[in-house]
């Protein structure tokens, strides 16, 4: 009896001790993750986060090719920045049609997208996600914070430069939102994580903000072509400003063509040159094209895997009788082709005269009887996962092709158009000269060159299509030329009609996704939606 009593007492005591010690054990931390203090304790850690800030342009998540996505509510393969941006800029125009039946994708051709369209929602969240990453990086990179972590000297200087690049990338994503959605939420490094919904910013206010940001970092960025490959420099900042100024009238109602001339000229004069062969632009080894590429997204078949970007562009345009092997891929996805409007801009289909014409015609018909039939319409062979010498990329499944977001050719075209539209500081002769540089490369000789008299605004729009097709420009260009929604310019299946049809003017802006309207009371839906 006594013994049992003692045992019970001991047992109770043991229990009480256990209870005491255990209640403190509810603080657990994941094994392999780290806190921000640990990540940012070294300069190398800063660069790894900077890598994510850049890398989120190319990757869809933390596990390549998929499995741990950044953006939720959309298939991870679809959540890639450039793939979404490209669809929004190209599928809604005469440059591209797609066979697929993914919900909402045909809305681009039919021009009847809604605020619930999953691709438009995905792009919006992808852009805002990248802005949020930039904001966090900028917060963590102020001189005070960096000094507080004991990082000084050259390391601190480098981190200050990283922060400027993050500001550039944020400005770029705000440009995307301004161009496509107009009036997005406005989050900066002052916006707290888990805090209240950010305010809305109007399109013209956003223009001013982006312009101010870019000008604030302009002179502190590394000189053109001096930063590491894959990182932004002064050339990128100028190029984005030039592009914005060209479209300022659309964004704000006020023309800024003189600024467009100024900034395109800055880039042109910075030492860039066109590469020799247009057909080398979008190949597996196009990281060599540094003389022409100003800034872009780096993909790699082994290290930077995903189902977006140039993997999408190299696979989706292969189908029908196209031999997959010659495109450096294991198989095509039978999706993308173009309409006759683009094809007809070239003197011939085969690229005999203008080598920029890269169409695949065997078994394909020029006319599109059915958008969802791959053999209706010509596929484009501009993007190929093979090198200049014809060797395969490093992987058959993921592309090595890098995607330039800015290249010199665009700057020539901006200069020329801005001059024609009344911008000062440039002249038509110089402009014609720039255009003829493009055409000489395209034709392999001067036979395609034009005279100053031939340089008209309409010619420039067509020339932009010939030079920049499938590079994500067309929707913005057609809007600037008042040809996007209007019934004065038609293409097959525009507005869901086989011969083409105009649509209501409000479609020049995409809708703010209803999902965000629903979680952010500050937002206002764009007119018409």
């Amino acid at each position: 009896m006594k013994k049992t009593f003692l045992q019970t007492g001991l047992l109770t005591l043991v229990c009480l001790i256990l209870i005491q010690s255990c209640t403190k054990k509810l603080d657990l931390f994941p094994t392999n993750d780290v806190t921000s203090e640990v990540v940012y304790s070294t300069p190398a850690g800063y660069k790894q986060v900077l890598g994510k800030v850049y890398g989120s342009f190319a990757l869809t998540g933390n596990q390549g090719p998929a499995g741990n996505g950044d953006v939720q509510g959309i298939d991870e393969g679809f959540s890639d920045f450039y793939r979404l941006f490209w669809k929004a800029q190209e599928l809604s125009t005469d440059e591209a049609v797609i066979t697929w039946g993914d919900v909402g994708i045909q809305d681009f051709h039919n021009m009847n997208w809604t605020s619930n369209n999953s691709f438009l929602t995905g792009l919006y969240y992808r852009s805002m996600y990248q802005i949020t990453l930039c904001n966090e990086f900028i917060r963590q990179s102020t001189p005070e914070v960096v000094a507080g972590r004991g990082i000084t000297g050259a390391d601190a200087t480098a981190i200050a430069q990283y922060a400027r690049e993050a500001r550039f990338l944020r400005a770029f994503q705000y440009w995307v939102l301004m161009d496509l959605y107009g009036n997005p939420p406005f989050a900066t490094e002052a916006t707290a994580i888990g805090g209240p919904p950010p305010p809305r910013i109007t399109r013209s206010e956003l223009f001013t903000y982006i312009e101010t940001e870019l000008k604030a970092i302009e002179n502190e960025m590394p000189a053109p072509r001096t930063n590491e490959y894959g990182r932004a420099d002064q050339g990128a900042v100028w190029a984005l400003l030039a592009r914005m100024y060209l479209n300022a009238q659309v964004y704000t109602g006020a023309e800024k063509y003189t600024d467009a001339v100024t900034y395109s000229k800055k880039v042109i004069d910075a030492g860039y040159e066109l590469i020799d062969d247009y057909r080398w632009l979008m190949l597996a080894d196009n990281h060599q094209n540094t003389e022409e590429f100003i800034f872009g997204i780096n993909y790699d078949g082994l290290h930077t895997q995903g189902f977006g970007g140039t993997t999408f562009l190299t696979h989706a345009c292969v189908g029908g009788s196209m031999p997959a092997g010659t495109f450096g891929i294991s198989g095509g996805w039978a999706g993308l082709r173009t309409t006759k409007n683009l094809v007809n801009l070239f003197p011939d289909v085969n690229g005999t005269a203008d080598k920029r014409a890269q169409f695949y015609t065997p078994g394909q018909s020029l006319e599109i009887a059915n958008v969802t039939t791959f053999t209706d319409g010509y596929p484009i062979t501009k993007y190929k996962n093979v090198t200049r010498t014809g060797a395969n990329g490093s992987s058959q499944d993921y592309s090595d092709v890098d995607m330039p977001l800015f290249r010199l050719a665009e700057m020539y075209l901006i200069y020329a158009e801005a001059v024609l539209r009344g911008g000062t500081g440039g002249d038509v002769t110089t402009a014609t000269g720039y255009i003829n540089l493009l055409r000489t490369r395209a034709y392999g000789n001067t036979s395609g060159n034009i005279s100053s008299a031939q340089l008209t605004l309409d010619f420039i729009l067509d020339e932009r299509a010939r030079e920049l097709y499938w590079e994500g420009f067309r929707r913005s260009d057609l809007i600037r030329y008042n040809k996007f929604v209007e019934n004065t310019y038609l293409w097959p299946w525009k507005g869901g009609v086989s011969s083409g049809s105009g649509v209501q003017a409000f479609r020049k802006l995409y809708p703010i996704p209803s999902r965000d309207i629903n979680s952010n009371p500050n937002l206002v839906q764009n007119t018409g939606y």
Binding site: G51, D102, H303, T372, R515
Partner: protein
């Protein structure tokens, strides 16, 4: 000799004399009492002479001997859990009797959280199902023992694969994104229901033959003692224990054959040819072959299963024990799949110090070896071109016929389906999973204060799952899959360990206070439970497969004694495809709880109970991690009132009212509240200059995460009539979940993830449950049990977002095949969860759907996603179960049927394969499809047709789960033995209008469903 002892002695002598006197005029009746269902002996049956005072009890072997006077003509047999039986003696001296089970004896002991109660003392909605009522047949996973048996509990098997698990929903499920699975407690150990690598189902690691009872705590007043994990109900599983006495052996062996009950209705080879000839271009028609292959026949086969169980129970001196061994060898009807499970369990239940210290030791262990069939073959067998042969004469791709493309690196047509039989036969996906659950429970009734008990429970649930996946490099589905296109196949290994531990202790004070005709029962306790998973990955290494040396270091050049480390994804010849970032990961969470219960019973008539639990979870921040979960309930036994006490036909009438608050936090990430950075893997690097950087990403988090809470109100009535030959209950309930842990959109720019688990939203389940169990006939030779249960449940989401925007369609869920990332369901306020979200199909005058023509619901002149509407839900409004068992002499026959009404299924097979675009694929191959294409003639172009409500079908059904005949051969094998034989058919028939293979599809999307087999089995059982 003290006075007391003297008295005792004299009484004894007097009685002895008396009995001697009586003996001369009386006769002795002997016999044996058995349970007719399995022929087992029933010990402890009261055998009394009707109208006289003499009586005895049966021994452990069921035998009795009773001496009765000449006036006695009838013996009365009664025992807890069995219907009382009166048998006329009719001059016989041997009376062997079988007792019919009485399903709802009021004295039946029901296991509740931290204790047991008699059924009559319950105040909450608790259902107990014991072994005698379990479903029969080839049952390899425990929860299937009670499918269809309990009102309010829906158990849907996840398909017909060996060892496949089930989805259990109690009262509709209270959560959206958190887990809707009930808490399962096995012998006092709340187990991890999360599964482990290499096992299809965590519960399948338990041998169903070891289970004694299921006790299901349905309402919150019963379940709230489990606090934060009880929102979706609690299932308490108790395993069989030793009953004492001489060793009793039980051996049973079962052999069964599984067959495919129904094939998918696809085009025959001739129909297929005709379709392609009339719809294809000349190039496409040229793709047709000459063979006539039934691919479904090629992948399915009748398969055999054996299940052998041996158990012994008895007592070793004062140590009651039960030891069991089980061996199951089950083959799937889909070729190559199988499960081999060896299980053992040991129960020891010593009672020491004059029953003051009760110790229960439960140890269960199992080793499951599985080979998983590639279930992709099921869909491929439907789609594979029937005009192609299975094999070719070539050695390429293992000799299986495949779609080729000469220009591709692999030589294969990239996106074409692969040979279904090749998928099966060229994949060796083997796993070996060990699991052990055990606990030791001390229950000490204090010597100096016997009203107080101290209970200490120490338990564990550990498992280890490891496996290999090997696909030869010749296999088409992994051919030359390395980035450089030079290496193929798969050669992967994995290893995962789980180690969950629990410590629980409580004090229980019980007191009968006769003076005020009251009884009080007070309990207070503490619980600590830790869940730790270790996922092993070898660190990636460019030099090949890593091995681990005994000292823990890694090497690529192994010597003897080094063991392989699991790795991530390699080709058959060991070329790395993708590697993990870290050598291992150890997700972990903990729960710490304090709980208490107070019960007060007055006059055995009014029962009042209150419980309170305080739970702390490591999944929430310091500020939010503790939650209180109270409950209160009251029961009034009307039968005990004077006005009913003498109403003879009424045996029980009790009204129960309960309220309770429960929580939920399972099913969400472990560290969702913590700001953290995670490292990307080697395929998600980014290039600066010529260097590739490993990336750090800030992950989304929600510092305000907290408990999801469900408030339940329950009103119940228990009844029993006609000597308890009609019993049952009816319950009305409302469950309101608030602060739903739901995945909601974050305002863009305010988090590192645009969707995050947060506590936003409310949901309601309300319903009625009705149970009736009857014994229409109970005679000596014929006993008939008949039961029925009915459940009505309706679910409605009442809030989902912070801002209420009428244009917001809700959260899209339910991914389907057809368009990447497409969904067919939506959570919307005002509708049941996962309602189908579809276009309204327009039909022509013959009732044929017109492709891509839908009703313009918002009348804006265009068909857009804004014209989608909510139509029906996958959850049944009503589900029912019924059973019948007839015992006639040594024969028995029984069946069980189940019905769901109002459940709808999206026939994804029709929508995905029954269109021209599938059959004549634009990618340059042919594929078979559903015969539905002949009905609709759909082309399958565009991005809308598959969202038509045409494909949402009423999947209400009536299914006979089993039909069973048994014969009890008795002591055929010698004295003291008992031999039983039973024949059983499972999945006997299904009556439904649904046009797919099986209407019972959890989640409501029928695509690649592993058909549930029809199983014929023969069981022989022997007790000795």
């Amino acid at each position: 000799m003290s006075c007391k002892k003297l008295l005792q002695a004299s009484v004894f002598i007097a009685l002895l004399l008396l009995s001697q006197f009586a003996y001369s005029q009386n006769k002795t009746i002997t016999g044996r009492v058995i349970d007719p269902r399995d022929g087992s002996a029933i010990a402890g049956v009261n055998v009394t002479a009707k109208g006289a005072s003499s009586g005895t009890q049966t021994k452990s072997d069921g035998t009795y001997s009773l001496t009765v006077g000449p006036s006695v003509t009838t013996l009365v047999f009664s025992s807890v859990g069995f219907a009382t039986l009166e048998v006329p003696i009719s001059g016989r001296s041997t009376l062997d009797v079988s007792l019919a089970i009485n399903n709802t004896s009021l004295e039946e002991v029901v296991v509740i959280g931290y204790g047991t109660r008699m059924k009559k003392d319950l105040t909450g909605a608790v259902t107990s199902v014991t072994a005698k009522d379990f479903n029969r047949g080839t049952i390899t996973t425990p929860e299937q023992l009670i499918a269809g048996k309990v009102a309010g509990v829906q158990i849907t098997s996840n398909g017909g694969a060996p060892g496949a698990g089930s989805t259990i929903r109690i009262r509709g499920g209270a959560s959206l994104n958190a887990s809707n699975d009930p808490l399962i407690v096995i012998d006092g150990v709340p187990v991890d229901n999360g599964g482990i690598s290499g096992s299809a189902n965590a519960l399948s690691l338990i041998n169903p033959n070891d289970i004694e009872s299921f006790n299901i705590l349905k309402d919150a007043s019963a379940a709230a003692i489990y606090g934060s994990r009880a929102s979706n109900g609690v299932i308490i599983i108790t395993t069989k224990k030793g009953k004492g006495g001489k060793p009793k052996f039980n051996f049973s062996t079962q052999y069964s054959i599984s067959t495919l009950p129904k094939r998918a209705d696809i085009l025959s080879p001739s129909e297929f040819r005709e379709y392609v000839n009339s719809h294809g271009t000349p190039t496409q028609i040229d793709l047709l072959g000459d063979a006539n292959t039934n691919w479904q026949d090629a992948i399915y086969d009748n398969s055999g299963t054996t299940d052998n169980n041996l158990s012994v129970s008895g007592s070793l001196k004062n140590l009651p024990y039960r030891v069991s061994l089980g061996y199951l060898n089950q083959n799937g009807i889909l070729k190559t799949g199988r499960l081999e499970r060896t299980s053992a369990s040991i129960n020891l239940s010593p009672r020491l110090f004059n029953n003051h210290l009760r110790i229960d030791v439960n140890l269960k262990g199992s080793i499951s070896k599985s080979r998983f069939a590639d279930e992709g073959a099921i869909g491929n067998a439907i789609r594979f071109d029937p005009t192609k042969p299975i094999h070719t004469n070539s050695k390429s791709y293992g000799g299986y016929w495949e779609w080729l493309d000469a220009s591709s690196v692999t030589g294969l047509l990239e996106l074409a389906p692969r040979n279904p039989l090749g998928l099966l036969e060229q994949r060796e996906d083997n796993s070996n999973v060990k699991r052990s659950i055990g606990n030791v429970q001390f229950d000490y009734k204090l010597h100096f204060f016997p009203d107080l008990r101290v209970n200490l429970n120490l338990g564990y649930d550990i498992s280890k799952g490891q496996g290999t996946v090997y696909v030869p490099d010749s296999a088409a589905n992994a051919y030359r899959r390395s980035p450089d296109g030079q290496h193929g196949g798969v050669n992967n290994r994995y290893l995962q360990e789980k180690s969950n531990t629990i410590l629980e202790t409580y004090l229980n004070y019980t007191k009968d206070i006769k003076s005020i005709r009251s009884r009080i029962d007070v309990m207070a306790g503490y619980s600590y439970q830790d869940f730790l998973t270790t996922i092993h990955n070898a660190k990636k290494d460019p030099n090949g497969i890593l091995y681990q040396k005994p000292d823990g270091t890694l090497t690529t050049t192994p010597t003897s004694g080094d063991r392989w480390t699991p790795y991530f994804d390699y080709t058959a010849d060991g070329v790395l495809i993708s590697g993990p970032t870290f050598p291992f990961d150890k997700p972990q969470n903990r729960l710490i709880s304090f709980f208490g219960r107070v019960e007060y019973t007055y006059m055995n008539k009014f029962l009042l109970k209150g419980t309170l639990r305080r739970d702390g979870s490591s999944r929430f921040s310091k500020e939010n991690r503790w939650g209180y979960f109270p409950s209160a309930s009251f029961a009034w036994r009307l039968k005990e009132e004077s006005f009913l006490r003498n109403v003879n036909f009424l045996d029980e009438l009790k009204v129960r009212i309960g309220y309770g608050l429960t929580g939920q936090q399972d099913g969400i990430a472990n560290y969702g509240y913590i700001p953290r950075y995670s490292l990307a893997n080697g395929q998600a690097q980014y290039q600066f200059g010529s260097e590739y950087y490993d990336l750090y990403r800030p992950d989304g988090y929600n510092p305000n995460l907290k408990w999801e809470q469900t408030t339940t109100y329950n009103l119940g009535i228990d009844y029993g009539f006609l000597n308890n030959r009609i019993t049952g209950s009816i319950d009305f309930y409302i469950k309101k979940t608030s602060d739903l842990l739901s995945e909601i959109d974050q305002s863009a720019g305010t988090n590192f993830s645009n969707k995050i688990i947060a506590n936003i939203g409310d949901m309601t389940n309300r319903g009625v449950e009705f149970t009736i169990n009857t014994q229409p006939v109970t005679t000596r030779n014929l006993v008939w049990d008949l039961g029925f249960n009915f459940t009505y449940n309706e679910n409605e989401i009442t809030r989902l977002t912070l801002v209420n925007d009428p244009n917001f369609p809700g959260n899209l869920v339910g991914g389907i095949a057809g368009g990447v990332g497409s969904t067919i369901q939506v959570h919307t306020v005002g509708y049941p969860k996962s309602s189908f979200y579809v276009y309204k199909q327009v039909y022509d005058k013959n009732g044929k759907p017109i492709e891509d023509l839908f009703e313009d619901i918002n009348r804006d002149g265009a068909i857009t996603v804004d014209d989608l509407y909510r139509y029906k839900s996958p959850d049944p409004r009503v589900f029912m179960g019924a059973y019948s068992n007839v015992i006639w002499k040594n024969w028995s026959a029984g069946f069980s049927v189940r019905a769901n009404i109002g459940n709808y299924v999206y026939n994804n097979r029709f929508s995905n394969t029954g269109v021209k675009r599938n059959i004549i694929d634009p990618l340059g191959y042919l594929a078979n499809g559903s015969r539905n294409v002949l009905e609709t003639d759909f082309s399958g172009d565009g991005d809308r047709y598959f969202l038509s409500d045409y494909y949402i079908e009423n999947a209400s059904f009536l299914r006979m789960d089993y039909f069973n005949i048994g014969y009890n051969a008795g002591a055929l094998a010698g004295k003291g033995t008992n031999l039983r034989i039973a024949a059983n058919v499972q999945n006997v028939f299904t009556i439904t209008k649904y046009r797919g293979v099986d209407p019972e599809v959890q989640g409501g999307i029928d695509n690649n469903f592993y058909p549930r087999p029809r199983i014929f089995s023969l069981t022989v059982g022997l007790d000795f």
